[in-house]
């Protein structure tokens, strides 16, 4: 998405709001773009920044050719500052640097832009420091904050930004894209439930790890239905060995979540919405015998809890063991 017309196809409303304010020369001093992964936050942020600095703008479209556009795209423009989390969060040093930047004049021009990625990873303290700038913006400064989790932004910041909500991607159009890339329909459906990012989906499909992970989850459901006393053994002998990194564990739990959801769909006869199993899988029927609707809802809740615990750095083995006990019980 390198032009506003391309963005307009995916995000018609959001792009219209911003395009109109650019046309009328009324760009807000701060934007908060919130939308899920893959909804084009970064592309929109880039376009706003390019629009501010581009030398050969064609109407509202930046040229994408001049040195300013090129340098913004490669993060090399000295007056466009990118702040992205180093590791899990935005570090204190980065915020201090940013604060210092607020007080300096621009390097090449009189205007400056700040793009803060994953603005929800700012601590409350750091947010409050940025607040000061949002309250008293200096001349010609534009802040663009990107977040996937608008709820985590403190209200004092929100109230000082123009909040632009990006609409979630339409899963069927994403599936269509995946199928066009040569993915089988079932895989495409599953991928679209797991991610919004085209490249990521294709990379996973190619990855043997992912195929194995999926197989393991099918086995896990099987063990739950057939010999649930072996679950404990299974997670230690197979699951934990395969899901080593935290990102992998989260992905595994996502798969488990989808599998359990499908069993629930089987109960209520919503076969169309299934993503993990194919509707005529034998295992589904067997699993539905073991898992009642209430139990499924409890289990789904337990999986979500487990995901949250992983995020909070709880020991993964313990999380898994507890989760299995909860699903069994």
């Amino acid at each position: 998405m390198k032009t506003w017309s391309e963005v307009a196809e995916v995000q018609p409303l959001a792009s219209k709001i911003i395009m109109n304010s650019i046309k009328k020369g009324r760009i807000s001093h701060a934007y908060l773009l919130q939308g899920e992964r893959g909804t084009g936050k970064e592309a929109i942020g880039l376009l706003i920044a390019k629009g501010l600095f581009c030398e050969h703008k064609n109407g509202i479209e930046p040229c994408n050719e001049c040195t300013n556009c090129n340098r913004i795209a490669t993060h090399n423009h000295p007056d466009v500052h990118w702040i992205e989390p180093e590791g899990a969060s935005i570090k204190k040093e980065q915020v201090e640097n940013l604060q210092k930047e607020f007080s300096y004049s621009g390097m090449e021009s009189n205007q400056k832009a700040y793009i803060i990625k994953d603005a929800d990873s700012l601590t409350v303290n750091a947010s409050n420091r940025i607040l000061k700038f949002l309250e008293e913006p200096s001349k010609q400064t534009t802040a663009i904050m990107l977040t996937a989790n608008g709820q985590a932004i403190i209200p004092t910041i929100k109230s000082r930004c123009q909040v632009i909500e990006l609409k979630p991607l339409n899963p069927s159009s994403f599936q269509q894209q995946l199928i066009e890339k040569g993915m089988a329909k079932e895989t495409a459906v599953l991928m679209s439930a797991l991610t919004n990012n085209l490249e990521e989906a294709i990379a996973w499909k190619e990855d043997a790890w992912f195929a194995e992970a999926r197989k393991l989850m099918v086995q896990l459901i099987k063990i739950f239905t057939e010999q649930h006393q072996d679950v404990y053994l299974f997670i230690h002998s197979h699951l934990l060995a395969h899901f080593k990194e935290r990102a992998e564990q989260e992905r595994g739990l996502d798969l488990l979540l989808l599998a359990l959801k499908d069993i629930l769909y089987f109960h209520i006869g919503n076969e169309k919405a299934m993503v993990f199993f194919s509707p005529n899988d034998d295992l589904l029927e067997k699993a539905a015998m073991i898992f009642s609707q209430e139990k499924l809802i409890e289990s789904l809740d337990a999986v979500l809890h487990a995901k949250r615990k992983l995020k909070q750095n709880v020991q993964p083995t313990l999380v898994m063991e507890q989760l299995m006990l909860q699903i069994q019980g």
């Binding site: 090399n76 007080s103 004049s105 390097m107 090449e108």
Partner: protein, 378 residues
């Protein structure tokens, strides 16, 4: 791009620009060093976005050829490796060549390095220099102006504008002012050939400290010009640019009292030593307070008292006292800084009461002023 250059010249140039390059920069291209070849010479550029340094190596100087076989062009090289490579090359001359794929070849004797360069288009554009809006002054004068003011800038980020030195050029007078709101240092010099005027230019103290380090003590002129967002200091082969602080510097002229109730005249060195001794017992957390009391007969007494440690008293004879008797407390650190900055043998200090700021000036000279706020004690 291609050229052959004298290695010593290149090393000196690289060393200068390396002072501006920081490895911790957020903008990836700034980890590099830009080399630009023109028929008349080679320009090296380094920057950490706050300050930028350009070093110019002319192709020919005093009939000595520094650079030969120049094919014009420019490239950005990794600053982490390039200086060490240049320093350790075997021969007296270095050949540097870059191709369209941003591959750089460095040859010297039989050694050959191939480095990956970056596109010079990506490098920040430094403001164009307009020589008509500039003025000149001797380097040593500029350095002493920096030394006499920059120590007083604020180190607190709460009021960022005070972390800089306010520079004014008005009515053919150049003024440097720095304050951290507890003290103020100002220095004024006449400038004869200025064809520009500006006020409310605030240069970060950090940049000036850096400039002070990089300028040689040579008796040469430095040319200063100010653009919208940067200030340029230009010597024969070196351009030093600094970004400015954004915002309005507080009006300081009204802070300086124009009359005084007590005026003393004292030998700078003696007072400095006395205060320094008294400060030994003054405690950091209590602002290093020392007391000064006039005693008539051209005597003053300096005391300091920390109940937990002990106290110190010292009487000293001074040149003269005029006006009311006075007892005043102040930070010894500020006093020492101020006295050190005044490079004159004798100073006059004007007091306007124990609760009002006092001002230190060299004898019969108002071009240097050091203002200090007293400390309230009971």
């Amino acid at each position: 791009m291609k050229f052959i250059i004298q290695r010593d010249q290149l090393i000196a140039g690289v060393q200068d620009v390396m002072k501006a390059i920081s490895s911790r920069t957020v903008i990836p291209i700034l980890t590099g060093l830009k080399i630009e070849a023109k028929q008349h010479g080679i320009t090296l550029t380094g920057s950490d976005s706050d300050i930028s340094i350009e070093s110019y190596i002319p192709a020919e100087e005093n009939e000595i050829v520094n650079v030969e076989q120049i094919e014009e062009g420019s490239i950005v090289l990794q600053a982490k490796y390039f200086p060490d490579i240049v320093r350790k090359l075997p021969e007296k001359t270095v050949e540097i060549e870059s191709d369209d794929n941003l591959k750089v070849t460095i040859r010297s004797g039989k050694a050959e390095f191939n480095l990956n360069g970056q596109d010079a288009e990506e490098y920040p554009l430094l403001p164009k220099i307009q020589t008509e809006d500039s003025f000149e002054m001797p380097i040593d004068l500029l350095k002493s102006m920096i030394k006499q003011t920059v120590f007083a800038v604020s180190t607190m980020e709460t009021r960022p504008i005070l972390t800089g030195v306010n520079i004014k050029l008005e009515d053919n007078k150049l003024t440097f002012i720095a304050t951290d709101s507890h003290r103020l240092a100002s220095r004024e010099v006449p400038i004869s050939n200025a064809n520009t005027e500006f006020r409310n230019i605030v240069v970060p103290g950090k940049s000036l400290n850096e400039l002070n380090k990089i300028l040689d003590d040579a008796e040469e002129q430095v040319e200063i010009s100010v653009t919208n967002n940067q200030i340029l200091f230009r010597t024969r082969h070196l351009n030093f640019l600094s970004r400015l602080l954004d915002g309005n510097y507080p009006e300081t002229s009204r802070l300086i009292p124009d009359q005084s109730k007590t005026k003393i005249q004292v030998k700078t060195k003696e007072l400095l030593n006395t205060i320094d001794r008294a400060s030994l017992l003054a405690k950091e957390e209590r602002n290093n307070v020392v007391k000064l009391a006039t005693q008539g007969n051209n005597q003053i007494e300096i005391t300091s008292n920390s109940p937990e440690i002990g106290n110190v008293e010292e009487e000293m004879s001074i040149q003269s006292i005029d006006g009311e008797d006075l007892k005043i407390s102040f930070s010894s650190k500020y006093m020492i800084d101020a006295l050190k900055a005044i490079e004159y043998d004798e100073v006059t200090i004007d007091f306007t009461g124990a609760m009002r700021p006092f001002i230190i000036r060299p004898l019969n000279d108002t071009s240097i002023q050091q203002l200090i706020l007293p400390v309230r004690t009971y």
